[in-house]
């Protein structure tokens, strides 16, 4: 009888480390030996997480992985949240990697679609962040993880600073399943400001030749906010935030929601809403939120990641942002996504297409961009049990007249102008997602937010409250009724839409008592990047490309 070995993973880990032993002094490896290190520790078919975040990128390790010998390292299975850099796809072009599980591929979406079409890779699944992180702890645990940190000390402890993002979740999954963790750092210091990742979760540290790349993804120049966006922001504040007393929320990334942030100290203040809405946020440190923070609107902000240029400002506002004992901000994508899903009463964000059932998608033909975090934030959390005024009111509206046990519901608001640029309609009979799914052989059309989770659709024409719709036909007409002059909007049943308006299912700016003459850029608390810097007392330091003065 053979005795089963219970520690094969530890033995495998020891063998990998043994192959790399000559390259390391303690946990430190020279950047010139990075390729040799990867060739020593990687085995064909390994699951590998190459840290690609929304912002921080393990770019040196990405370049190094692309440079390994495909005869030695091949058929890797990449499991990473974001495909941001060209190298993230070059590993497939060079035959180093073969399979991909991911969440978001924004800038690489078109190339990903081409590579898939050319048979260069297979996709396991496109996940939301929380799903992918969940799978790190079930069946997609990385064997080798390549991560990025700001600094390391001699022992190999890591300081990730404001842009912690995915690092803790990646390292925890890998280190506690006998995997190998390799970190690139910008500097090696005697004493770290604080320890974000303890050294005994880290195998190797490499001082990268250049600091890791960080993308300023959440910076929106107020100068580009239009008057229509101001009008929509006014409707959002008066027609949704005030009515539901929304206090815990997440905002999307676009100019529509930046306009709302910039209207809090002006328009919302004039409605007497200060202290009654928008007190707690799951949000990256948006520069556009500075005027509201300075005016005393915001009690707390927990962040998925940092934002370039906001380091000194967040450090100077520790009552608002989550900061370490050293004074710098800490972020954590997994925990902030959990907060966004379970602890927030509202998600509001933009989209590219909405169909007649309210399904919302950012998929367009020829691009496989994935989802990121919107589906977790923009979905009713059916596991939620705690009550709040906003959650209870939404639940009452959705269940009125039905014989169901009382429960609450999340507010999920899709905010779009009826036409995007080049007169592309935002409302469509059929989402492009269907054709994309067929082209790419996906099991489902990639829907960002399902219609059944959407509570409100807000356009320049008004607000459609889908919670109050009782039939599929009402729902369709409520959507047509705010779809403006798109073919979907022109196809409305005018009598039914007026009836929905009488019932408050559809509300126009005039129904909300909004004076459209106020919908000008003068209502924005900051009208330029310079205004944001001034509002921060000089603490906000925008990236060069946003410095237009």
């Amino acid at each position: 009888m053979t005795v089963r070995q219970w520690n094969t993973q530890a033995q495998n880990r020891a063998a990998r480390r043994e192959r790399a032993a000559a390259l390391a002094r303690g946990r430190h490896v020279a950047s010139a030996d990075a390729r040799a290190l990867l060739e020593a520790v990687l085995e064909p078919g390994d699951r590998v997480c190459l840290e690609g975040n929304n912002q921080k990128q393990a770019d040196f390790l990405a370049k190094t992985l692309v440079s390994v010998d495909p005869a030695r390292v091949h058929d890797l299975h990449m499991v990473q949240s974001v495909l941001a850099l060209p190298e993230h796809l070059e590993v497939f072009e060079r035959g180093i990697a073969r399979k991909l599980d991911f969440s978001f591929s924004g800038p690489q979406g078109a190339r990903l679609a081409r590579l898939l079409g050319a048979g260069k890779l297979t996709i396991g699944a496109i996940h939301t962040y929380l799903e992918l992180f969940g799978r790190y702890f079930t069946d997609l645990t990385p064997k080798v993880s390549l991560v990025a940190a700001q600094a390391a000390d001699a022992a190999g402890n890591l300081y990730t600073g404001p842009n912690t993002e995915d690092t803790p979740v990646i390292v925890e999954a890998t280190a506690f399943r006998q995997g190998i963790v390799i970190a690139q750092v910008n500097e090696i210091v005697d004493r770290l400001p604080r320890v974000d990742i303890p050294a005994d979760w880290v195998d190797y540290v490499i001082l990268a030749p250049t600091p890791n790349y960080i993308e300023p993804l959440f910076t929106r120049d107020p100068a580009q906010i239009s008057e229509v966006q101001v009008l929509m922001a006014m409707m959002a504040i008066k027609g949704i935030y005030a009515e539901y007393e929304v206090n815990r929320l997440n905002h999307g990334i676009g100019f529509d929601t930046a306009a709302i942030e910039l209207l809090l100290p002006t328009y919302a203040e004039s409605l007497g809403l200060k202290g009654r809405i928008c007190r707690h946020w799951a949000l990256n440190p948006h520069p556009a939120l500075i005027p509201a923070i300075e005016a005393g609107w915001v009690e707390s902000v927990h962040s998925f990641g940092g934002e370039l240029g906001m380091e000194a400002y967040t450090a100077a506002r520790p009552d608002v942002f989550f900061t370490g004992a050293d004074g710098s901000m800490r972020s954590n994508r997994a925990l902030c996504q959990a907060a966004g899903h379970y602890a927030c009463d509202m998600f509001i964000g933009s989209t590219l297409q909405i169909d007649l059932a309210g399904n919302s998608s950012t998929a367009t033909l020829g691009r496989i961009t994935g989802f990121g975090g919107a589906p977790n934030m923009g979905a009713d959390a059916r596991g939620r049990r705690h009550a709040s005024p906003a959650w209870l009111k939404a639940g009452r509206e959705a269940r009125a007249g039905r014989n169901t046990i009382p429960r609450g519901q999340k507010l999920v608001v899709q905010m779009v102008e009826t036409f995007r640029e080049h007169m592309a309609p935002a409302f469509v009979d059929t989402l492009d997602a269907w054709e994309l799914a067929e082209q790419a052989g996906m099991p489902l059309p990639p829907v960002m937010i399902y219609g059944e989770d959407v509570s409100h659709i807000l356009t320049e024409e008004g607000i459609a409250n889908l919670l109050l719709c009782r039939t599929d036909e009402e729902r369709e007409q409520a959507i047509r009724g705010v779809a403006g002059y798109t073919p979907v909007g022109l196809g409305r049943d005018k009598r039914m839409v007026e009836n929905l308006r009488d019932r408050g299912v559809i509300r126009r700016a005039e129904d909300l008592g909004i004076d459209k003459r106020l919908a000008t850029r003068d209502l924005l608390a900051a009208r330029s990047m310079k205004d944001l810097v001034r509002a921060s007392g000089g603490l906000y330091d925008p990236p060069k490309r946003f410095r237009n003065w």
Binding site: S226, E227, F419, M423, Y485
Partner: protein, 105 residues
């Protein structure tokens, strides 16, 4: 360039005489709207000069809705459009008419 003309009847004249009002700017994605009193035998006339050709049906729908919101009489509206979306057109028209009626906000 394309020029479109719309004429509506059945509107109401303003109680007090109003002065001509110019709203908006001539810039990409934007438009300029001039609203002025005119002896049109009770009609409201809208003249659109637009850089975007082929959107006559949408202009018609935007103008029909506009007149339903603001049934004006003896008023001439001149629009100089540089590819504004219907959202911008409707907002600008509403702002222009409210300024024309009630002075500046």
């Amino acid at each position: 360039m394309e020029t479109l003309t719309f004429e509506y009847r059945g509107g109401r004249a303003l109680a007090a005489p109003a002065a001509a009002t110019l709203t908006g700017v001539v810039g990409s994605g934007n438009l300029e709207v001039l609203v002025e009193p005119a002896a049109l035998d009770g009609a409201c006339r809208v003249e659109v000069t637009t850089a975007a050709v082929g959107f006559g049906r949408i202009w018609q729908a935007v103008m029909d809705d506009f007149f339903a919101r603001h049934p004006l009489a003896d008023v001439q509206i001149s629009i100089n459009d540089v590819g504004a979306t219907p959202a911008v057109v409707s907002l600008r028209l509403d702002q222009a008419v409210e300024a024309f009626r009630g002075g500046v906000a």
